[in-house]
């Protein structure tokens, strides 16, 4: 059994806005969501990179305590975007709880904020009379906390897939959700990812000399994917969710078709845990095309992983060039908000859906002087009004995990 899988709802909390209107405005006007790193009272003073892709606007969650008690900050993002997609989908309560709707959702490592509180308790507790680790601390911090807080809040009884593969977390969520519906295991899946404000992640990349440090005094000028002046990634926060549905049932119930997932490639480099691998990445891009049964010429736009690290962008450029030549427009969307870690795949897919619907492609921000080693691609250097029929969303993670999702424009999918 192979079924078509369409996207019928989406929502993203990003450093450049929450609702669709704000996000599109930021993309059209070249607004950055990168801000100065906030002091967290722990690691900040030891970190060289002083920038962060920040969600600094208020969000009215309105979750009752019965749900809040098992949620760390990361689950707030996750449940909010899941609530948005369920509300806008119009799915019935009967279907949501039927077992035919599942959840594929993850984060880089659960809630580091809560984990940090647990460790504080350990170290402060040595002279204390009581063991004071909260009954819910594990539920709030565990690696699958986003997925199961979503199932709990909405009474979802289908499958749970909780990928946790760093930067490919949410692209795997979408890919695995797509395959789950395509092969008939579920009729619909809420897919996505979230990551909260966290300086431990910044410290990790800072320690590996992978974080941006030269633009601390002007945060909006970094990251700079593919630019000769790039100096590393910027960590960010956010959440995103898409609702995937089997095409025929979505059509029958009159759902809006925002796009169609037509292919998914996923593999591992089988070696180094950190260095980007040209063979592995190239193979992933080809796997996605084979999965979609399309040729490279069919792809109009590539949302590149493009973290703005020195080698990562070069290797990705080589992979794109070898598979696609200089055909599709290429944009590094992290230039607007930094690297939202486990969320980046779903956010970049949602931004691509918005651009497809609106008929434009946003340029890579801060791409003033293309690095010669990345110059063989057709970079989007200015806002381009164009129709996009098929787009690729590429993401690569520590541990050597690579993903590529291929999506078709909603109007095309619906025709």
């Amino acid at each position: 059994m192979k079924r078509r899988v369409v996207i019928t709802a989406c929502s993203a909390i990003t450093p450049i806005g929450y609702d669709k209107k704000n996000i599109i405005e930021s993309l059209r006007q070249g607004k950055s969501g990168v801000k100065p790193l906030r002091d967290d009272g722990l690691l900040t003073k030891h970190i060289h990179s002083r920038v962060f892709g920040t969600v600094d606007y208020p969000i009215e969650y309105g979750f009752k305590r019965q749900y809040r008690k098992t949620m760390g900050p990361v689950a707030f993002y996750a449940c909010q975007v899941a609530k948005d997609v369920l509300q806008s989908s119009g799915l019935s309560r009967d279907f949501i709880t039927s077992g035919r709707l599942g959840v594929a959702f993850g984060s880089t490592h659960g809630s580091p904020t809560v984990q940090r509180d647990i460790y504080k308790t350990f170290f402060n507790d040595l002279d204390s009379k009581f063991s004071s680790i909260g009954a819910v601390d594990y539920l709030r911090s565990m690696v699958h906390t986003t997925a199961v807080n979503i199932t709990r809040m909405f009474g979802i009884t289908g499958r749970v897939i909780a990928s946790s593969t760093a930067c490919t977390t949410s692209s795997q969520s979408i890919g695995f959700g797509y395959e789950t519906i395509k092969y008939g295991m579920q009729d619909a899946m809420i897919c996505g990812g979230a990551d909260e404000y966290d300086t431990t992640t910044v410290a990790v990349f800072d320690n590996l000399l992978a974080c941006s440090v030269d633009y601390n005094h002007k945060p909006h000028c970094t990251p700079r994917p593919f630019d000769a002046g790039r100096d590393g990634l910027v960590v960010g926060e956010g959440g995103g969710a898409v609702l995937l549905e089997e095409y025929e049932s979505a059509k029958r119930r009159g759902a809006s078709i925002l796009g169609e997932i037509i292919g998914f490639g996923c593999n591992n480099n089988g070696g180094d845990m950190i260095l980007p691998n040209l063979d592995g990445i190239t193979a992933t891009l080809r796997l996605a095309l084979e999965s979609a049964r399309i040729s490279p010429d069919d792809v109009d736009f590539i949302s590149a992983h493009a973290t703005a690290t020195k080698m990562g962008d070069v290797i990705e450029s080589q992979a794109i060039a070898s598979v696609y030549g200089d055909g599709p427009l290429v944009t590094g969307l992290k230039s607007y908000m930094g690297h939202t870690m486990g969320t980046c795949g779903v956010i970049e897919l949602i931004l691509t859906l918005y651009m497809m619907e609106q008929g434009f492609i946003a340029p890579t921000l801060n791409l003033d002087n293309v690095d010669e080693r990345c110059s063989m691609l057709r970079h989007t250097c200015k806002l381009t009004e164009t129709d996009t029929r098929i787009a690729a969303i590429q993401n690569f993670a520590f541990g050597g995990v690579n993903t590529c999702l291929l999506i078709k424009n909603g109007k095309e999918a619906d025709s």
């Binding site: 019965q66 009581f130 063991s131 909260g134 009954a135 819910v136």
Partner: protein, 85 residues
Amino acid sequence: MTRDELKDKILTILTEDFEFEHPGLNDNLRDDHGFDSIDAIELLGKIEVILDFSLTRDEKEKAMEIRTINNILDYIEGIVNSRNK
């Protein structure tokens, strides 16, 4: 501590930390206020602070029979009395 003083402390915890609205002494904690086993564990931690000593595992397991606020008060008084014997 008198039963009234204990009642005031427990009601404060239930309204402020557990967000109970208009708690009644004989309300069913689960049915009327959504109080579940996770909440029970959290409440036991707060009861330890009130009593200023750690509860044993046996004492904690007995708390799982609690259904109402009056049961909570009886439970705490029972613990104190048994320790004072």
